[in-house]
Point group: C2
Chain length 405, copies 2
């Protein structure tokens, strides 16, 4: 039986980054670059004022006071018509280019204007002025030709702003993957039904589809497959048209756990079945030439945790993200906790942030069918195998879930 | 001039939760509930097997060994046709209801089947069996009538799974807000242009629109307004059709900073102008009967930081989220840092997670026009006003940006 690390390694080895496409900038949020980005400009593109005030020669105001002749005004988007000579200033707005001859800006709050014999003069009273004050030099932030983003970068608002500054109207990114979600089991009814004796509503479809969407994938809800080979094989054939197929249920040791056999019959090659993990031990993973397939356990918390550990890794890999594997963080336990278990366990926890760092509380959890507990949680705490008493304040490994509650 | 806390307080006071609508479950990811959710079922709805194996009477196997007569089989979705008597067992699948008379499940791995004179018998060899083993009792996770989610809860995958379990096909949630983004300034050119002397491309529109989308809002890109009252007032009138209008630029002390006056002329009531914060001091906030309006500074990092602090608070408030104000976390500084500044500063930083907790590194930052530095960051570090030498390992307040880089 694979360990979690071996399973993650197997996924990373067997799933390759997906195909690319070109999208407009305004649709690229959350997508992953498939090309490195070089700058076509210096930024700022010119020496630039950072304040409204007066462009000056610092040496004219070395002691902080001066009265200068105002020879021009330059606003953002314009260029001054003449250079500054000793004893002169040009009124300037934030964002405007620094005129030739000037090497500093005195902010307007430190000045007063005097009209003097048809000349405008500015009286300055401030701390000693040094070159570079209230301005930024051309190319300080980036130089033309610099590589400002590597391929593999996920695009957040600031990347999109930067790409707009570089004039990138379109970008080559990894294509969004389509993910089919197929719940299996004779006990399932659709959510519009009142469950009869022994029945439960299909909660996994809505949950897994949302997990897919939260990862940036395109979820297709494929309904419920019944525990017979005919129905299951037909729906699997349909699901294999997706880049990724997620099944839930039917992967344990029971007589009606038909998923692994039907997947292999459909040409999906098993990479692993069962992982030493709780919840989620029966998880199945395989690939076909065109699809990546997970058989997730039917209990909803098992399904959710296996998604966070394994499916997310595959989706990140397909999306071109590296590292693809789950990002561990750490938090102090908020209370003593007696852990019992012979498998590494991912336990629902409530992560909170305090001025002395993060703290996590294991929530009241009744096992793999108890979805309610996960709605009270925002992270999973990793407890290694083996009974152990953990102490409050002890650091433990946590994996934060996306979103807040 | 407002402090950051006063500004956040003013936003919270002047922005009320927005209207509600009913949406289908499959479109509710990220939306905020406007109704509390009560359970219409017990969960699990019946005493349920957690393993494939045999439903038994624990007292028959108190020492861990027994040979029992198998009288029936029950799979998930079915109900056993008869009750278990002493000496009997019923084969059971994960998820199936526990038959009457049984109070534990022995997993199939601990059993062997014997066919014995037309009777099927199961031989069990395991550790002593206590009632409740490998099963979960009806209502353990939740009881019919329990309130399982309060109004104001943001819907993540696990909430959607739980709502599906409760049969909720539709939900009452807060409506998505429309947010107009209007950049202002004569220096701006559209991103398909090669900037001329003194010009820069409009990076704020793409960035702010993406920040809106990352918050769950509907962004409308309204183009560039020029620094004259006619163009600005026409575009403001258009933008006030949105629930929220964001302008960037034109809010400083300069002669062409027309935004505050044009907003007031359009009937937007100023709540505050200028906040003691860096970057972002000139930020303007006001309301009209139908809109919430922010005048953000034109420099992109100022604009971005003011969005994260102030606009996000307004959007969270409109969405019905509480608390609406930014969620502070803490991290240890990864290196010594000399801070100089007379305003509280939100400094781009790179937050990383280690086994002994989070660490943050201030990135190389060249001020409010240096968007590139924010692409190297994933958080902002809050340094209070006042020159101070911070030491490596010291805890500082951080605000994580959404998404990863």
């Amino acid at each position: 039986m694979h360990t979690v690390d071996q399973a993650l390694e197997a996924i990373t080895l067997n799933v390759a980054p997906g195909p690319v496409e070109t999208v407009p900038l305004c649709e690229a949020l959350g997508r992953v670059l498939a090309e490195p980005i070089d700058s076509d400009i210096d930024s700022p593109p010119f020496d630039k004022a950072l304040m409204d005030g007066f462009a000056v020669r610092a040496e004219d105001i070395a002691d902080g006071t001066a009265t200068l002749t105002v020879i021009d005004e330059v606003t953002a988007g314009q260029v001054a018509s003449q250079a500054i000579q000793p004893g002169q200033a040009i009124q300037i707005m934030t964002g405007a280019p620094i005129p030739d001859g000037a090497d500093a800006v005195v902010q307007v709050e430190d000045t007063s204007i005097e009209n003097h014999e048809q000349q405008v003069r500015v009286s300055i009273d401030t701390r000693p002025v040094v070159p570079g004050r209230n301005m930024i030099h051309q190319g300080t932030s980036m130089r033309r030709g610099d590589t400002v983003m590597p391929a593999g970068r996920q695009l957040r608002p600031q990347e999109l702003g930067l790409l707009a500054e570089l004039g990138r109207q379109t970008l080559v990114v990894h294509r969004q993957v389509t993910v089919g979600v197929l719940a299996t089991g004779d006990e399932l009814v659709t959510i519009d039904c009142q469950p009869g004796a022994g029945q439960i509503r299909n909660s996994n479809e809505a949950m897994l589809a949302a997990q897919v969407r939260a990862c940036g994938g395109l979820a297709l809800e494929l309904g419920i497959a019944r525990d017979n080979p005919e129905d299951l094989s037909a729906r699997i054939a349909d699901g294999l048209k997706c880049d990724v197929l997620l099944l839930s249920g039917g992967v344990s040791a029971g007589r009606l756990d038909l998923v692994p056999a039907q997947l292999e019959a459909a040409g999906v090659n098993e990479i692993f079945h069962k992982v030493k993990v709780k919840p989620g031990k029966p998880v199945w993973f395989g690939t076909s030439p065109d699809s990546v397939v997970f058989g997730l356990p039917g209990n909803p918390v098992s399904s959710m945790v296996c998604f966070e550990l394994f499916v997310r890794t595959a989706l990140r890999r397909l999306a071109g993200l590296s590292p693809a594997q789950p990002a561990a963080a750490a938090a102090r336990l908020a209370r003593d906790f007696e852990f019992r278990g012979d498998r590494p366990t991912y336990f629902p926890g409530r992560l909170e942030h305090h001025s002395d760092g993060p703290r996590v509380t294991p929530v009241d959890w009744h096992g793999s069918s108890d979805l309610r507990s996960t709605a009270n949680a925002n992270a999973m705490i990793h407890f290694p195998a083996g009974d152990q008493g953990y102490r409050a304040q002890q650091w433990v490994e946590v994996f934060e879930w996306s979103g807040r509650a």
